[in-house]
């Protein structure tokens, strides 16, 4: 009987002891602590990957656009690769050298300079000029109607594109073996590959896929234009004839919008979503200087034809055109106003019927209104978005 009493006492003490609430200790981690310590020696990465999944605003969804799922680990790896100068022959150039975040991922040089000071042939294309490479534009995901990469449309996928950049002698000048070796030599890639691919095996295909994932994860759709387009959902704000204004635009911006819809939207897109055509000649020169698409296809019809760029963030991406010939938007507008040259392949939109170049003959007011409108396409958030920033210490 004594034993029973003892047992009861023991039990009571036990329950009392356990009932006093003990603070629980939950520890959340993404990278193994040792991996994160290693990464942190070289990189400023958050302790878990950023969300690279773009959520398109309704006015873009309403156009039937969608973005495909982005793998955050691959995009994180891709971000490091994008900024890594070790990926170039002389260790001085990364993708970001010619695609600078503060310039919507464009370069402010007329033509960019690659490894060993080699000067390239064309003006860098702003990665922030599109709303997202994985939404129709710039991808073969949607079959033949998808729009390819480069001024001459020579790459079909973001992977083809970045392999071309890495191996281009005037850009990064790496051989295929160089790429793998350069990546293997850096200790921080081991954990990044493991997280992205489940194994630390480094292959060229993985390098390329990861960069593509990052590039596809870049999205720009938070401009003033987008804010207004979202408000305008439900009525046609893109009809030149209906002349509907955006309520939050200034009078000049709304006038500029109309001029744009009348003269430019048939190529560059009224909704800033995807260009209306894959290639065009906008009358820069009367004779073929750079063959453009024709240099790839050799077709006479393609001579001096170039990709029709999207104009998001255009304010930031000077100089303009494939050869960077114009330094300001005013010069661009002047070109369309009075400077269009007649070339045999000049696109019909820019012809005054027959073999004549169109003269838009904008008034001074028209010109400044048009420029004011183009400036509403700037997305300030993109420029400082930490998800896309240089991760190196």
């Amino acid at each position: 009987m004594k034993k029973l009493h003892l047992a009861c006492l023991f039990l009571g003490v036990l329950i009392l002891a356990a009932a006093c609430k003990r603070d629980s200790d939950f520890n959340y981690y993404y990278y193994e602590p040792a991996d994160y310590a290693l990464l942190s020696q070289y990189l400023n990465l958050p302790d878990r990957p950023e969300n690279y999944q773009s959520e398109l605003p309704n006015h873009l969804m309403a156009l039937g656009l969608s973005v495909r799922p982005v793998d955050y680990d691959k995009a994180t790896l891709g971000r490091v690769l994008f900024y890594d100068k070790k990926l170039s022959k002389d260790g001085t150039i990364s993708c970001a050298s010619c695609h600078k975040q503060e310039l919507a991922f464009a370069d402010n040089a007329k033509v960019s300079t690659g490894v060993f000071g080699r000067v390239g042939d064309r003006n860098s294309i702003a990665l922030g000029s599109v709303l997202s490479f994985s939404a129709y534009y710039g991808t073969d995901l949607f079959g033949p109607s998808g729009i390819p990469f480069f001024w001459d449309n020579r790459a079909n996928t973001a992977s083809d594109q970045n392999m071309a950049s890495m191996t281009n002698p005037k850009e990064m000048d790496m051989s295929h073996a160089d790429i793998v070796n350069a990546v293997q030599a850096q200790p921080y890639y081991e954990p990044l590959f493991r997280m992205a691919y489940g194994s630390n095996q480094i292959t060229e295909a993985r390098v390329s896929e990861a960069i593509a994932e990052f590039v596809n994860g870049i999205g720009s759709f938070k401009s003033k234009f987008d804010v207004e387009a979202e408000k305008a959902l439900g009525y046609n704000a893109y009809s030149y004839l209906e002349k509907n204004n955006f309520s939050g635009f200034s009078a000049a911006e709304n006038r500029g919008k109309l001029i744009y819809l009348e003269n430019c939207a048939s190529c560059h897109s009224a909704t800033q979503s995807r260009p209306e055509m894959m290639k065009a000649n906008n009358g820069l020169d009367a004779t073929t200087v750079d063959a453009g698409v024709g240099g790839i296809t050799n077709a006479t019809d393609d001579m001096a034809m170039f990709k029709v760029p999207l104009l998001r963030n255009i304010e930031l991406t000077a100089p303009y055109m494939h050869d960077g010939r114009f330094n300001t938007l005013e010069e661009v507008v002047e070109h369309y106003s009075t400077g269009i040259q007649y070339h045999p392949n000049l696109s019909t939109e820019l012809r005054a019927g027959g073999a004549q170049a169109k003269k838009m003959n904008f008034s001074t007011q028209d010109k400044s209104d048009l420029v004011a409108f183009l400036k509403t396409l700037t997305d300030q958030e993109l420029l400082t978005d930490k998800r896309y920033a240089n991760p190196f210490k």
């Binding site: 036990l14 329950i15 356990a18 629980s24 520890n27 959340y28 489940g198």
Partner: protein, 258 residues
Amino acid sequence: MRQNLPLLLCVALCFTSACTHYYYAPNSLQTPFLQEKHDTRASIGFIGGDEFSGWEASACYSPVKYGALLVNHFQVKHVRPDDNPEREYGNGRLTELALGGYYPTKNNMNLSFFGGWGGGHVFNVYSGGAESDLRFERIFLQPGLAVQGNKARFSLASRFNRLNYISGNVNLATQGEEISTIQNIENANPFYFQEIGLSVGAGTEPVWVDFRLNINTKEQLRKFGFAKYTVGISFQFELDYLWRKKDRSHQMNSFNID
């Protein structure tokens, strides 16, 4: 698109239910049918629930009349379908010790009461490679009632639990729902809830087979990944029968010698 909505919902539901991860499941409520001092029972059984299964073992001893000592061990794992490409997985275990008393009445009834303490952990692997490992402690009070006849028996018990997750190691290599469940558990900790255990058994001394149903009565806990029920089958051996018999034969032998 409208017409497809039910279909979509169905797909979504099937999809989400396929990814259920559990953070708690009830082990069987033991009512060991003790009769007298030195009674000793051991049982082993299979137990499982919706998409998980495993085994449990229990042992019980009466050191003094009306007093008892109980040890339970329970472990289950997620039943992974062969065609599961996501490599999702989960397992959990619990070991506990309880002290209590029993009181056999004349009419084959047996009342019992246990208070116990134990702990264990649940480990989960999610699609995308994330992992979580939560450790918990549980204390309980458990009144029970059992009736045992010659060939059949029945029991009903109720367990009042205080469950506390004392620590968690959560590898976040995922982007989803599951982690928020764990954060919710952390915030809602500790949990108080009642479970009910039923068993129906058949057999005769010294072996019994029991069918068990254990139910967590608190519906709100489902959203924390607490399994609603477990079912089991267990085999109980009345170990004392062995030495009692020996004792008896020994006594008889001595009688004979005398």
